[in-house]
């Protein structure tokens, strides 16, 4: 099992990429299979970002709250965690 920090980075990128695919699909061919499968995967990445942030130990409550923001929550949490680590070092 990868470390939650690594999983968070992957999930936060996937959260944005899947939304981009969804929107591109919506404004172009609007194929139903793409909507339903990508919609599900996008929802999963949203949950995964929250899971990963909760699994990283001793995360400040402020960063935990960031993860709940749709679309950009993962990226914001990755940045905030990096900044918190820099401050600590």
């Amino acid at each position: 099992m990868p470390r939650p920090e690594t999983a968070l980075r992957i999930a936060s990128i996937a959260e944005i990429v899947t939304l981009a695919i969804l929107l591109t699909n919506l404004f172009t061919i609007h194929a139903r299979p793409i909507s339903s499968s990508m919609g599900m995967i996008h929802g999963c990445t949203y949950l995964l970002v929250i899971c990963c942030v909760l699994l990283i130990e001793r995360t400040p409550i402020r960063i935990k709250a960031l993860a709940w923001i749709p679309i950009v929550g993962g990226i914001l949490a990755v940045r905030a965690l990096a900044r918190a680590r820099d401050d600590a070092a």
Partner: protein
């Protein structure tokens, strides 16, 4: 699509809720042993591992209700009585887990780490309360699982 959602829902339930139920039910017994033998670091690390399993797999358990809701919506059964009862029981179990079971485990671990703690300072009372909460938690999951299979009043097949 419904089949995919339902498969992920069941798989997540087996892989996430199963370990939490087993590890949580083992925790009180090993915690009591660790209190009886404070110098035994092997038992203490067993207790720590059991707590870690409970904590990590509880978080992953979010996927069970998420995919459960998606399955229910795609089947159109979200307003069925058996499902609403299951959702309420699941919510009770989740609150029990987050607000009582995990904090009690954390408290027991913390007092194990306090070297000053002596076995007579009331920790066995916490352990027996945790035993009760854990039993209740397992019972709730058993009821929800049976509801998911029996689906009383459902018309979508056996």
């Amino acid at each position: 699509m419904t089949k995919v959602l339902l498969s992920i829902h069941v798989l997540a339930a087996i892989l996430a809720i199963g370990p939490v139920t087993v590890a949580a039910s083992m925790f009180p017994r090993y915690a009591a042993q660790a209190f009886a033998a404070p110098a035994d670091l092997a038992i203490r690390s067993v207790v720590q591992t059991l707590h870690r399993i409970c904590r990590v797999y509880s978080v992953l358990g979010i996927f069970v209700p998420a995919f459960g809701l998606m399955t229910a919506i795609s089947l159109g059964v979200l307003t069925d009585t058996w499902l609403i009862v299951s959702i309420i029981l699941t919510a009770v179990a989740a609150v029990l887990l987050v607000a009582s079971l995990l904090p009690a485990q954390r408290a027991i671990l913390a007092s194990l780490d306090d070297d000053v703690a002596d076995p007579s300072d009331g920790m066995p009372a916490t352990i027996s309360r945790l035993r009760m909460v854990t039993g209740l938690f397992s019972l709730l999951w058993a009821i929800v699982t049976i509801l998911m299979i029996a689906r009383p009043g459902s018309t979508t097949g056996a």
